[in-house]
């Protein structure tokens, strides 16, 4: 789905700060992921500070409600003024908040595909991991990264 997408966007919530992949913080993985795939990264809540502190400037820092509200608007021109996105990847929002946001997008943004990169199943996403153990999740994330390098 990511490979096929013409205009993907990655929405990153504050919980990524609490997620640890062992060798590195999840936030470091996401920086690498965003750089490797050239997918614009939107930091929600106050997590932008963490990215900036690591020398990575997100494409935008904005509340999760604001980015979700824009993603459902077919007329929105995107962060770069070019046009609406066709794929939104979500990770690191509180589970229930991501649930309702994905439901809103499923129902009111019919052109948009959504992916959840979180460890627990999100039924309203176009694609989501099943409930995974930590190790399985890490492996899956690495596989995705390797697959998408140089996208």
């Amino acid at each position: 789905m990511v490979k096929k997408a013409k205009r993907p966007i990655l929405v990153v919530g504050h919980k990524v700060v609490e997620m640890d992949l062992g060798k590195e913080g999840f936030i470091d993985y996401l920086i690498r992921f965003a750089k490797a795939t050239k997918v614009p990264l939107v930091a929600t809540a106050h997590v932008g500070k963490e990215f900036i502190g690591r020398g990575f400037q997100p494409a935008a820092c904005m509340p999760s409600m604001d980015i979700a509200n824009r993603l459902r608007d077919t007329e929105w021109k995107g962060l770069d003024g070019i046009g609406q996105y066709d794929l939104a990847l979500f990770v690191g929002l509180p589970y229930y908040m991501e649930w309702v946001i994905l439901s809103g997008l499923k129902n009111f943004a019919s052109e948009l595909k959504t992916i959840s990169l979180d460890r627990f199943y999100q039924p309203n996403a176009s694609w989501s991991f099943p409930n995974l153990g930590l190790e399985e999740w890490k492996k899956s994330l690495n596989a995705i990264e390797n697959e998408l390098k140089g996208r």
Binding site: T44, C61, P63, M65, Y96, M97, N107
Partner: protein, 779 residues
Amino acid sequence: MHIKIDELKSDLGTLKGFELTVGRMIEKALAEEVGPTPFPSTTNLREWDFKLLQKYKPFYMPFCDVCCLCTFGKCDLSQGKRGACGLDMAAQQSRIVLLACCIGAATHLAHARHLVKYLMEKIGRECKIDVGGLNVQVEAPVTRLVCGIEPKTLQELEDALDYCETEVTRLLSSTHTGQEGSSVDFESKIFHAGMIDHVSLEIADIAQVSALNLPKADPEAPLVSIGLGTVDVTKPVIMVVGHNVPPAVEIVDYLQENGLQGMVEVTGLCCTAHDITRYNPKAKIVGPISWQLRYIRSGIPDVIVVDEQCIRADSLDEAKKIKAPLIASSSKNCLGLPERTHDPADIIVADLVSGKTPGVLILDQAKVGEVAAKTAVLIAPKRKKLKAIPSVKKIIKDASTCRKCHECERACPNDLPIMDAVTDATKGNLEKLAGLYETCIGCARCESACPQMLPVHSFIVKAAEKKMKEEAYLIRAGRGAIQDVEIRNVGGPIVLGEIPGVIAFVGCANYPKGGEEVAEMAVEFAKRRYIVITSGCSAMSAAMYKYEDGKSPYEAFPGVFDAGGIVNVGSCVANSHIAGAAIKIASIFAKRKLSGNYEEIADYIHNRVGAVGVAWGAMSQKAAAIASGFWRLGIPVIVGPHGSKYRRMLLGRKDLEEDWYVYDARTGDQVYVGPVPEHLFYAAETKEEAMVMIAKLCMRPNDTTKGRAIKLTHYADLSNRLNGAMPDDIHLFVRTPADIPITMKDEIMAILKEKSWKEGRIPDPTLLPRMIRKKEEET
């Protein structure tokens, strides 16, 4: 009164089919003329609602894809499909929100009706409405604004109650299958439900303040004890919980009248606790709603008295575990108990003390007081504070049966790392369990989910027992209304923006990371010289925090409605005083006509009064109704992340310039004023996000340059500190160079240049064409 005589034969003749109806006479003693919309129907303020909804469009986030409210269904409404009745998903979501708000409004309204009836019987129908003596002349601002009447006595409140009951019934009827079909009209009705809710809140609180002599707009209302550690466990202890204070009042009165004062502890949770400490400052508040389970299981209460609202449905089962009798006192919450209202008190007491019955339903509030007091005295020596919390040894043993299935964590609303803590407990280390105490909201879903039936919540409580017993703070008792003189003093600085905002921390305790976040936010904004108001469970959470020198925020900050104050207005129903303060700024300071003049006053508040509501732990339908009352006044509300489950937000789009024009009342010109306030209903993900947004949502079109500079200083400062960067939208809030905070001039000027910013102007803002003075002069 309605008299109907089908047929009456007398010496004078025969009377057939006679009917006579006489309505109640409403005394019209208002000095000012009643405005255009007294007792508005569901459609009278529809145009105003649509103006707000044009700016703040709903963003729906359905919880599920189907509607299952009628037997046509269930109907799949997802992705553009319509149900068998023709309804689409947007309308269904707004319909559900309306249902929630009707539930909330009906709950406050039924509470108000019960209180007024009880107080008329106890004190008298002619009891004067007095919420602040000479300091409060505008005694019922919400009721006057909405209904156009000025109730002077308890019985006169019934006119407004009658109106509210009619409106809630109408609103509820519109959610029936085959009624309202438009999401935008549902939204308008949601606003209407909120407005009705605010009238109900006000009636409830001004009735109890007047009749029970609760603090009357007193900034120096007494400091009262809060926290489980303040309870004297050597005495018999009565626990009251809920929102309706009459049973607790009767308990206190009975103890006083029978020489038992000081010998029995009266303790409370949730809003009944607020109100009983307003009635008797020697009563004690244990904590917000989330303390319910831990308090019962601690074994401290000898008798539990429940009234109405926010009471755990399993409270009787929990009470049985500690062998504490439970008395239900409200027809709205009977808990399956036998009604004993008409039995002699001593027989009921004997049955409760002997354990013949675990609880009773008593609908006579005075009898509740007598039975609770007598039972507590007699049963306390027998119970010996029997608790339902395991020993450390038992925790270690039971924890070893954990299957590590993660079900507890999946069930936890806050995703707390429970399983890890339980695993550590098997090694005798309870530190992680104790660490969960602060953020646990006390729902016990972990216990329900555990296949091994482990009492996980009790594990947490035991692990944190020392901390729990040390909970001892002070909270200022709910002061009630804001004085007229306070409004006169701060009205100008608020409207001009020089007091940067009025921030109300309200609502329930469904916090994402514990109540401490509420205290931290309240203190932060009080230090920044905003006016901070608190109510309900949030007021309690703000108190349970050690500030400088170990003082609680209520000791450290004054209770006056002025810059830097932390003002506890009281229980949920006292939220009406927050709306009332905003209304009084328009009425008293700006001298706008008040009675029945909703649209003009709301327009004034929306464009001039930098007020923001923060319901960080909003949980209930009542909270939804309270919020919607603020929306209709144009006051934004921020909820915590759990608030996203209310299913719809009202979000502005700062990137759409056309949404942010107002009329200049002086000229009739349409003027771009920027996205102020940007949102009307908004869920923040974290405390840090909320704090930046609070500062942003305090901006209003009417801010003077000095006021806007002050507001921008706080907005930019908080963003720099919490987000690590200057706000990327700051150029949207600068109208003229004089708006720029002097200490940030160079940095902001550089941003303005980069954004090709153009200077604007500051209008006399209104959304209402009829408020344009130039047009009036011409005609």
